[in-house]
């Protein structure tokens, strides 16, 4: 029998089965990642050097680096960056703590559920920067109005993510805890909190980028120091090199925040 099969297959004109499952599987390549930066900066510098890109519209990378260096040496950068970081930290922490508390209550208690979801849904779509004038009336032009804007902007996505995370904790794990007579506080601390943590941490990425947007907007509306103020002032004086230098600092700030959150992820979610 097997012999017959072997014979017949050798007599027929065999075609090799074609491999069909190609593509749709992108892979990471760190060299290409860094190379893309180099290519963009080199092209940009070439464009500026040859005069293809007007200096007034867009300064060359070298000019931006010089402007950045001047800001570092004169100490202006640290004054601006320090003011921004302080606002970012205070505003984000206030909004996050409040958001976590409210998010947990909405996620766990019937009495908080519907009122909480209704209020959050109504207030979440408001662009928070629109409330800055109101906060200035309430808290004055100084720091508290900026803290409030950032905190308010961070609060809503944190609430939404936290109660989403709490909702997603597997019910069977909670029931297991109850079936072993674990007290409610233990169920919250040992089952619900760690179970909701992955969602909460990914919410931190959204809330931190919202915080940076609101920080810059608030600083452009009224601040003496801060990266937003620096960029606005440079623009008003047509100092595009300093303006782009400020933007580069923002990009680096965003990368740092995202790196820190990545570390936090790895530290807290090592079990995944």
């Amino acid at each position: 029998m097997s012999r017959d099969v072997a014979n017949s297959s050798s007599e027929n004109a065999d075609n090799k089965v074609r491999f069909r499952a190609t593509g749709f599987n992108p892979k990471a390549n760190p060299v290409a990642a860094w190379a893309s930066f180099v290519v963009v900066i080199v092209l940009w510098q070439l464009g500026s050097s040859t005069g293809f890109i007007s200096d007034l519209a867009m300064p060359s990378p070298v000019a931006v680096a010089e402007a950045l260096w001047k800001l570092i040496v004169s100490g202006d950068l640290w004054r601006h960056l320090g003011a921004s970081l302080q606002r970012l930290a205070v505003g984000w922490i206030l909004g996050t703590v409040a958001g976590l508390v409210v998010g947990f209550m909405v996620g766990m208690f019937t009495w908080a559920r519907s009122p909480g979801v209704a209020l959050v849904s109504a207030l979440f779509p408001i662009p928070k920067i629109a409330l800055l004038p109101l906060f200035i009336i309430w808290f004055g032009i100084g720091e508290p109005s900026k803290f409030a804007t950032i905190a308010f902007g961070v609060f809503f996505p944190t609430v939404i993510n936290t109660f989403g995370g709490v909702d997603n904790v597997a019910r069977n794990l909670i029931r297991m805890g109850q079936s072993f007579d674990m007290p409610m506080w233990s169920v919250i601390r040992k089952i619900i909190l760690p179970g909701a943590l992955p969602t909460i941490l990914s919410g931190f990425r959204i809330s931190s980028s919202i915080a940076i947007i609101l920080l810059i907007a608030a600083e452009m509306i009224g601040a003496q120091y801060g990266i937003g103020a620096l960029i606005l002032a440079a623009g008003q004086l047509y100092q595009t090199d300093q303006l782009i230098a400020g933007v580069v600092v923002l990009s680096l700030l965003g990368l740092c925040v995202s790196w820190l959150l990545g570390r936090l992820d790895r530290w807290l979610l090592g079990w995944r």
Binding site: L173, S179, F180, I191
Partner: protein, 257 residues
Amino acid sequence: MRLTIKNVSHRYDQVEALRDIDLTIEPGEVVALIGPSGCGKSTLLSIIGGMLAPTSGEVLIDDQAKPEGCLNPLTYVFQDFALLPWRTVAGNISLVLEDHPLSRAERDARIEEVLAQTNLSDFRDAFPKQLSGGMKQRVGIARALAVRPAVLLMDEPLSALDAQTRILLLDEFSDLFARTGMTAVYVTHNLNEAVRLAHRVVALRRRPGTIKEIHSIDIPIQDRREGLPELVAHEGALWNLIRDEAIAADKELENVA
């Protein structure tokens, strides 16, 4: 510990899941609940352990004869294991001991003891995702034993496992029951498991769930072997008992979650 189920009925909205269930589970007895899907066997197990409030009726426990050091008299073993993925094997067992007034040494001693009993000592620091299904269920058993339960409530503990693992764990359960004389309620849809492990097999009828027949198996658990003619006969008798119900259940459109 004796468990008395008195006149328990339960409704989910329109569906009558259980009607007038009366059953007494004697100390040291293993009772299997069998029946087609939708007969309310899991509902009954939830009611027995206090995880579901019955529409009417009650479940009584006789508190006199709790085992020594019992922290949680009615203890479940779950079909889906219900292990915390962020805790190690030892951590998952520790979880159910931490809220009790045990010293650290006592807690560690209990953990070591149940790990040894379930042959998990080498896996104490592994995370659940690293374990096979069978190992995960052994952790579920170890966790249940750690609280020295009076009654084990087992909800289809082998249904999520592959056939080979099922045979291995079935032997381990059989050893456990024979060795410890543990009282247990064992829900399954697998008749082979029921006849291997149970002193009495309670067959339920569906819609509404009522007790159709209680079938006693008098062979001591340690003497039961796979393929023993008496057991095969019992299995056949049980199948005849629930066959028509199983066919009806199979043909039914899903209307309850």
